[in-house]
Subunit: 347 residues, 2 copies
């Protein structure tokens, strides 16, 4: 029940040797598929900062493997030199994107695995490698489980609509929102995807369309304003989206544009499914009102790919996310299973 991994390109590769951090340079997509093998700390930090690797799960895995690579190479040095190199690398990686919760969590987990009292650097680096690979493999397994659970909501021949990129380019595995698409495809069931381009940063056009096209899954690209029209034409059987955070009551924060799709799905009687790792659940947030919405720079809307498309001074509203109320969510799928309303997520 595994997707055909040969054609599915994930953001990060889980390689047991930990002699390099291997990622896809997503800033080159869709024009070129460039795999980077990063061995130097400054290269890893730059790759995370400049979004060569993106997607919360993938960033965490990249930080974990990156730290293990640095530790492995420092393992022949003295304990003091090893400690200094590892501490410096952990600090630099952790702060590469300070707001990414997964990144600090994964780096700290690898760091802690290396704290083996009195052990030689070689032993400690080995423990760190094991932990980094475990984090990476856990991510792959998490995606497979989301795919398996999500697939129970779908059937062969369906046509699904997705938004942004919650595919294989977001984690180390086969994705979250798109995991069941890969699961159905791998078992030979036909499935067709309509992908919103997802302005302003066009993750749907640049990443989702690219990864599905490459995997041989039929995908049709839409501008965001076309989703309603294809729903009315009777061409969509389900909407599949990811999530950045899910509140205790099931309210979902996800890429801007998700909420509008949920309203349109309700109007057209189309099920609206949210698929995300258990780590996305935030039981501390009682509902959507307690989830802060990041506002981003106006230039993302006024410009595109370096080309100015609006007056340089015009006011812009550019929230990165919106909140979809739980009442519009037909089911929430995590690696732990399928949840139906009413939602009550607890620690």
């Amino acid at each position: 029940m595994h997707a055909p991994r040969s054609s599915v390109v994930s953001a990060v590769t889980c390689a047991a040797a930990c002699d390099a951090l291997t990622i896809i340079d997503q800033t080159q997509l869709p024009l070129a598929l460039v795999e980077l093998s990063l061995t130097e700390l400054h290269e890893m930090v730059e790759a995370i900062q400049s979004l060569r690797v993106r997607g919360a799960p993938a960033i965490g895995v990249a930080g974990a493997i990156g730290l293990a690579v640095i530790a492995t190479r420092a393992a022949l040095a003295s304990p003091a030199t090893f400690d200094a190199a590892v501490a410096q690398a952990a600090d630099a990686l952790r702060s590469a994107r300070p707001t990414a919760v997964n990144l600090a969590w994964a780096v700290d987990r690898v760091l802690a695995a290396g704290q083996v009292g009195g052990a030689a650097p070689g032993i400690r680096a080995g423990a760190m490698r094991d932990e980094a690979i475990a984090i990476c493999n856990d991510d792959v397994a998490m995606c497979e489980r989301i795919g398996m659970h999500g697939a129970t909501l779908l059937r062969g021949g369906m046509r699904v609509l997705t938004h942004c990129n919650a595919g294989a380019l977001a984690p180390a595995g086969i994705g979250t929102a798109l995991a069941p698409v890969y699961t159905l495809h791998a078992r030979g069931d036909a499935i067709t995807v309509f992908a919103d381009e997802t302005r302003p940063l066009l993750q749907g056009a640049r990443l989702t369309a690219w990864e599905l096209d490459r995997a041989g899954i039929p995908v049709t690209l839409l501008t965001d304003g076309m989703a309603a029209s294809v729903m009315r034409d009777g061409r969509i059987d389900a909407v599949l989206v990811g999530a950045d955070r899910i509140a205790a009551n099931g309210d979902v924060a996800d890429k801007i544009g998700t909420y509008g799709l949920a309203v349109l799905a309700l109007h057209h009687g189309i099920p609206f499914y949210v698929l995300a790792p258990t780590s996305t659940l935030d039981p501390q947030a009682p509902n959507g009102a307690s989830m802060p919405i990041e506002m981003r720079d106006a230039s993302e809307v006024r410009m595109h790919a370096g080309v100015q498309t609006a007056p340089g001074t015009v006011a812009v509203h550019n929230p990165a996310f919106d909140v979809t109320p739980a009442a519009l969510v037909s089911a929430i799928v995590t690696d732990a299973g399928v949840f139906h309303p009413p939602y009550h997520f607890t620690d």
Copy 2:
């Protein structure tokens, strides 16, 4: 009750002398305001073909004035030379955009006005000038009337959402969807506009944001996927859109993305108004199903401003328009007045 024309830039200028066709070069917006005075036939044809002047009403006016300019200059020649020049110009202008109904209609109206049996070319050219200026002035008056009728649905302090460009850059006057915005602004009432950027061709970002900003009307630019979120935030009091064709039953064909806004407006209890000239009504089309939807080239979605943003081979769905069922339209405003449902438009 006229808008402050000094700050409102319309697509075409109505100038009685007809010594040149004066347009705004919309391909230069929003980076530069370039006014073109076209005197040669090939320049006029090129301007229409390459969308330097766009918007159904504006294209018609441009064709009418263009033909009058050519006729005026040919008026000193022999009757035979005059006839040949006018016929050649009419053919070239009429076919510059063969699917634009307004263009052929306006060119033929000016041509017919010059068919004064036995009159000298000077007399005939004068009649053609009068007709072209009448068409232009009628367009300006049509916009003013839409503004006056539409303003009865609004009040000072309102915040409206619009899509695409149905403002002053679409006709010779103050626009259709945006006409009541200019009307309120001119009488000193505060009005705020949220403008969808309107992918794929970004008329909202390039044109609507520019013209409102220049007119001193507060405007905030959104990507298309953000409209739902600002509605949910309680920041929109009405939606104002134009129309490309309106069926007898009130179904509305308009720029792709309009239908989704209508569904979202219904969900949020926000009135959804369509504003368009009487000439947009098509009583021959009983409903939306009888209005053909133009499909446009995939490159518009795969590329943006010359930059490739999606895989070059990915399938694309690119309808130019969608159909909003009459049931979602709170009122239809034309130069003839405000129409409420149920709609029954007849010849």
